[in-house]
């Protein structure tokens, strides 16, 4: 007997170790597939996201030297101003500085008619008194309208490409020729104060006296501006040295961020904007008063802002900014004879505008420094006071452009474009008035060209992603999971070996032959070899065991039942969305529509289920029921079959209720939207600062905070699993954390109504947020590792008034699911901390939807069907949109980054922005295992089988995301010359890639590697069953 026991124990130990081993191998194998997908994404991104060829040449020809060298009818050029003051006011939209009629429908008292100095100067002095000493123009930025790109454009005169948009957090010194560098090379001392992006870009060229300020903390409205103002006071306004004309600086640059930050934090319609603009107005007045005759004052905005106060895209509100040139000297400009071009009607929509890059040659000519080599701009017409000067400016810019065109070799001699350029150049030489056409054409060509795609990389990206899709489908859906678990031990070493072999082959091949351009770098070559290795290893293993014919046959077999077809139809429909810009724009509504449709399908199924026997799982239930009837099995055996019985009436009613919950929650949450700019009048944004911090929202949050734990309790009670650690977790931890989150955002609301921020509140907020994040991300997950079982011993009297008691373990039926869901709750709490109030409402609804979907899927016995992951992913996507996001760059909620810390610090800021943006996806990726685990009684499935089923469901989720990613790859390539590509398709492709990456990482690391393995091990050792 004892020996027998020992044997059992050793068998148990061996099985336990075996499970651990195969679990690890599973994770490694999935990591390899994930690596393949990441490489595919990397290659595609490298090929598609544009990069510009930057030339390092420096122009050394000063305009005065040019004038002396050339035979310009004896024209002498010299610098017009000794000193220059440049004031950049971030996000100074053009309609902020011109008088707006109060009857105009767009008029807003908080941001219109507040900065009046500029137009007053221009209108009264320059135009009215014909002093011609100031010039106000509309300043058109090139997209993307982010500060880093604009500064690059403003100083180099070139067009920064899209890929630069991502490096806003990582600005590095500009190597290419630019204005600041030229000032430095020509011995001009440049003093700078303000936005530290300048410091990152130009630090070697700026004076040591410069003071950069932190720029990305959008919650801080005043530090930068006060710094700029006091610096200007010291060096200009109240400086004795300046009055005596012996100040140290030649160029004084200030960059104010207040207006931009108010826009980001409160939007342009908030009263804070008014105060900020009045402050700016006074400051400008002060500067204008003290400027002397030899100083040029340049005031400009780098971009505008949209109606929400954000920027980054290319809507007209974001592009239109202001340029103001001023001098005390009279007749330094020659305004257009026809003053009607300076037309301020209708928010200045017909006002004369110039390109932002035109400032570069303008300033270079005024200060007599060489025009930066890569410049594509054209000097502003008004700065030339007579025809001779006009001609000179044209000639020098034309020569610079020509030289740039020749050097960069973008248009090879003999091509049509080259000939066209030559023609235009020759005509310009003959008649200088036509020379702007040459510049305009060159600029247009360059804009086109910096859409320079690398097709081999794009093709490799698409091909490998497609191959990874096939691998995912075959190994998670087609091949039975038992076979896969047998294959995995061979897979992993084979993959490593094949990676080595393909590295060897590829590198030796390219040692002999010249590698193609796109993999010239070792790094990319090695990535390609890795991808080839993984693909070969997987396919060789698959085809060693199965024939292609069998796989195809199995594929269609897999799609033979009703729900699989429904699921795959919705995957395809979702992928088809990206074929049109209209559908992509309206993706948020379309996804809600899809979820409502699926909800209708499940409801139909619950109502009419007796008349329909096509659902295979239910059919088997019916068969077993018939069998049982015929055999007349006695009562106690019925328990065993109870899971396979056809749905009872109560269950059907419950199912209808769950379907309704799914549909209604979808509809309610879809009221929350931030609206893409393209949705226009058909969408009213509800996710705004004012609605987020309104009393109603906070009130709803308060109610939900109390109600939702009861809802979760209700779902637990369905299987009487509200036992053991569940009450502690849900009633204590969840409620506490949710209350903390409520306080955190309540404080934010209070702060929103205060005129000036109170430092103590801010400190308290950050420490509260940190402790909440610590509890939900670290402490609770650590606690979860110890295995909070949700079971309890229930003792009931068998007969009334008797002393016999019977004991049952309550909650056994859902022992896996109830425990796993506690982990989902941990993640949920973490996501909640970083979500704004309206987004929190959406997430509460999402939690209910997830639970309802799991119940529905469980009732239909569709635990391994593709439909479950499909609904879950649709829900995740829907809540991405209803938490105030859109697949556009300006919709990223950067301000969430400052919840955990006041300054940008790794990893606090990054975790916050990540969980804010991808919260729903993370939640869905973790919850996916619940399809298998929810209501899974112990001792029925082997641990291996259970793990296999979880992997299979995770595989479905990945397949869905891969299909979407592949679809965006293909369509963004197809639409690469489309008008909307950078605005609609490209952000969507970036979003799809990021979603796939996030899903992969979370699914592999958390769902499979961490949670499922540990849970199965714990519960099965609890029952001594392996």
């Amino acid at each position: 007997m004892i020996r027998n026991r020992m044997e059992q124990l050793s068998i148990y130990k061996i099985r336990f170790l075996k499970f651990r081993q195969s679990h690890t191998l599973y994770v490694l194998y999935l990591t390899a597939v994930a690596a393949l997908q990441f490489i595919a994404i990397a290659f595609f991104t490298k090929g598609f996201l544009l990069s510009r060829n930057v030339l390092d040449d420096i122009n050394e020809l000063k305009p005065s030297m040019y004038a002396a060298n050339s035979s310009n009818n004896g024209f002498v050029h010299q610098q017009k101003f000794e000193k220059t003051v440049i004031l950049v006011i971030d996000a100074l939209r053009f309609d902020f500085v011109i008088p707006v009629n109060t009857n105009n429908s767009a008029y807003n008292s908080n941001h219109h008619n507040k900065i009046t100095t500029l137009y007053d100067q221009f209108c009264k002095e320059s135009v009215g008194k014909k002093q011609n000493n100031s010039l106000l123009l509309k300043f058109l930025a090139d997209p993307p309208t982010t500060t880093l790109q604009r500064l690059k454009g403003l100083t180099t005169g070139s067009l920064p490409t899209f890929i630069d948009a991502g490096s806003n957090f990582d600005g590095t010194v500009i190597e290419e020729d630019n204005l600041i560098k030229q000032m430095y090379l020509n011995n001009k001392e440049v003093f700078f104060v303000g936005d530290d992006t300048w410091d990152a870009l130009f630090s070697p060229f700026l004076s040591n006296h410069s003071i950069p300020y932190e720029s990305l903390n959008v919650w801080d409205l005043d530090t930068v501006d006060n710094g700029v103002i006091s610096y200007f006071n010291d060096n200009l306004i109240r400086s004795e040295e300046y009055k005596k004309k012996n100040s140290q600086w030649n160029v004084l640059i200030g960059h104010m961020l207040g207006v931009d930050h108010v826009g980001h934090k409160y939007g342009p319609n908030h009263f804070t904007m008014k105060e900020k603009q009045l402050q700016v107005n006074n400051f400008i007045n002060d500067i204008i008063n003290v400027i002397d005759d030899d100083t040029l004052l340049v005031i400009m905005g780098d971009h505008g802002m949209d109606h929400t106060g954000n920027h980054g895209g290319d809507s007209i509100d974001e592009l239109e900014s202001t340029l103001f040139l001023y001098s005390k000297r009279q007749n330094v400009w020659k305004l257009e004879d026809d003053h009607s071009v300076y037309n301020i009607d209708d928010l200045g929509s017909n006002y004369k505008s110039i390109n932002q890059i035109d400032l570069v040659p303008t300033l270079a000519l005024l200060l007599d420094i060489p025009i930066p080599f890569n410049n594509l701009g054209w000097p502003i017409k008004e700065i030339a006071v007579n025809e001779l000067e006009q001609q000179f400016f044209s000639n020098i810019t034309l020569d610079q452009l020509k030289k740039y065109q020749e050097t960069n070799g973008l248009f090879p001699t003999g091509s049509d474009k080259y000939r066209m350029l030559e023609n235009l150049f020759n005509t310009s030489k003959e008649n200088y008035e036509l020379s702007k056409e040459y510049q305009a054409y060159l600029l247009m060509l360059c804009k086109d060209l910096w859409a320079n795609f690398e097709f081999p990389s794009i093709a490799i990206g698409i091909i490998f992603l497609f191959l990874s899709l096939i691998i995912l489908i075959t190994t998670t859906k087609l091949i039975p999971s038992i076979v896969v678990s047998q294959m995995v031990p061979i897979f992993v070493p084979l993959i490593i070996m094949m990676i080595f072999v393909s590295h060897l082959c590829l590198f030796s091949l390219f040692y002999v032959f010249q590698p193609p351009a796109f993999i010239e770098e070792r790094f990319w070559c090695s990535l390609l070899a890795t991808a080839i290795g993984i693909t070969l290893a997987c396919f060789s293993q698959i085809f060693e065991r199965y024939s292609l014919k069998w796989l195809i046959f199995r594929f269609f077999g897999e799609l033979s039942d009703y729900w699989s077809r429904v699921g795959s139809v919705f995957i395809i429909l979702h992928a088809v969305i990206f074929t049109s810009n209209s559908f992509t724009i309206w993706e948020d509504r379309i996804i809600s529509f899809f979820i409502a449709t699926i909800g209708l399908f499940t409801m139909y199924e619950f109502i009419f289920v007796p008349n329909r026997e096509s659902t295979s799982a239910l059919l088997s239930g019916v068969l077993i029921a018939k069998e049982r009837d015929s055999k007349k099995i006695r009562n106690f055996e019925e328990e065993v079959y109870s899971d396979c019985l056809p749905l009872t009436k109560i269950q059907r009613a419950l199912g209808i209720y769950h379907s309704l919950i799914l549909i209604c929650c979808t509809r309610i949450s879809s009221f929350i939207t931030i609206c893409r700019e393209e949705q226009g009048d058909f969408c009213t944004p509800t996710f705004s600062t004012s609605s987020n911090y309104s009393i109603n929202t906070i009130g709803i949050l308060f109610v939900l905070m109390i109600v939702v734990p009861f809802c979760i309790q209700g779902y637990y009670n369905l299987t009487s699993s509200f036992q053991g650690s569940a009450p502690i977790w849900i009633n204590l931890f969840l409620r506490l954390v949710l209350f903390g989150v409520f306080c955190l955002w309540g404080l934010n609301t209070v702060e929103n109504y205060l005129n000036e921020p109170i430092l103590e509140i801010n400190m308290f907020k950050i420490s509260l947020a940190r402790s909440l994040a610590g509890v939900s991300l670290i402490a609770l997950n650590f606690g979860w590792i110890f295995g909070p079982l949700c079971v309890n011993l229930g003792i009931t009297r068998t007969k009334e008034n008797s002393k016999e008691n019977s004991a049952t373990i309550l909650g056994v039926k859902n022992i896996y699911g109830s425990q796993y869901f506690l982990l989902v709750l941990n993640i949920f709490m973490a996501v909640m901390i970083f979500s704004k109030p309206l987004a929190q409402i959406s997430l509460y609804l999402m939690l209910n939807q997830i639970l309802s979907v799991i119940e529905i899927i469980d009732m239909f016995k569709l635990k391994e069907n593709i439909i479950g992951p499909v609904i879950l992913n649709l829900i995740a996507y829907q809540h991405f949109f209803t938490t105030g996001h859109q697949a556009t760059i300006p919709a990223v909620q950067w301000d969430a980054g400052f919840i955990l810390s006041e300054t940008i610090s790794f990893p606090l800021t990054h975790i916050a922005i990540f969980l804010n943006t991808f919260g729903p996806q993370v939640l869905a990726s973790v919850a996916i295992a619940l399809f298998t685990l929810w209501k899974q009684p112990p001792l029925v499935l082997k641990p291996q089988t259970m793990l296999g089923r979880i992997v299979s469901n995770c595989g479905c989720l990945l397949i869905y995301n891969t299909v979407l990613c592949l679809s965006t790859f293909i369509w963004v390539t197809h639409f690469r010359r489309h008008l909307m590509v950078w605005k609609i398709f490209c952000p969507r492709f970036i979003f799809a890639s990021l979603s796939l990456i996030v899903t992969q990482i979370i699914v592999i690391l958390i769902t499979i590697a961490f949670a499922s393995g540990r849970l199965i091990r714990q519960i099965n050792s609890f029952f001594w069953e392996f």
């Binding site: 509504r589 379309i590 009419f608």
Partner: protein, 218 residues
């Protein structure tokens, strides 16, 4: 005593049975199971083709100015009633006999259709229609949908509430409306893209196919 008990038991059983499969049971003859629930079907003839729907659609799209949905509804209700009397009911076979037109039921069904339109409107809103603004248009669409289903509603009343036989007609109308939603988000800037015009047209087409070919499906 035992006899009485037995009959009670049988009665109880029959009640639960009918509750399980149909929504309500009719009052007359319960004795024979076959005569109680004779097979209901629609004849497979070309006479069930609802030509009036095509005519109405033609008027709606080409004749009426700026897609007058209300006027279309005024045209739809009488023509649907006529369609039931002249075409649909004549080709409905209940057991072995043709059914006569029940005038009272015609009116009841009209009110039923009016009543059904409210849940339909709720459903449309759940599918994403705006909640408050454009609620008039949404209600009109719901009325259209319910009166397109009018023949089916009438037949449900007329044939012992056998929902199972008639639900395919509802499905066709919903399907037509569902598919027509495709054109709503497109940026073609056509006047017929305004809510609810595409869905009205779609459900008409769905209803046309449904009533023409419904008899060929299960």
């Amino acid at each position: 005593m035992p006899v009485k008990k037995r009959t009670n038991a049988i009665k109880k059983k029959s009640v639960t049975f009918s509750d399980d499969t149909t929504v309500t049971q009719n009052e007359h003859n319960k004795k024979d199971k076959d005569s109680e629930h004779p097979p209901v079907s629609v004849k497979k003839t070309i006479f069930t083709i609802p030509i009036h729907l095509l005519g109405l659609l033609y008027c709606y799209i080409f004749v009426s100015e700026s897609f007058d949905t209300l006027k279309l509804l005024c045209g739809l209700i009488p023509t649907q009633i006529l369609y039931v009397i002249l075409q649909f009911n004549r080709n409905t076979v209940y057991g072995n006999k043709r059914l006569k037109v029940n005038v009272l039921l015609i009116f009841i069904a009209v009110f039923a259709a009016l009543g059904v339109s409210l849940p339909i409107m709720l459903g449309i809103i759940l599918f994403g229609a705006p909640l408050i603004d454009k609620s008039k248009e949404t209600l009109l669409l719901a009325l259209h949908a319910s009166f397109l289903a009018y023949p089916a509603i009438y037949s449900v009343f007329n044939c012992n509430f056998k929902v199972g036989t008639w639900k395919k007609y509802f499905i066709f109308i919903i399907l037509g409306g569902w598919i027509s939603c495709i054109v709503i988000p497109l940026d073609w800037d056509r006047e017929w893209q305004a809510w609810p015009i595409p869905v009205v047209i779609g459900s008409y087409i769905g209803a046309f196919f449904g009533y023409s070919t419904g008899s060929y499906f299960l």
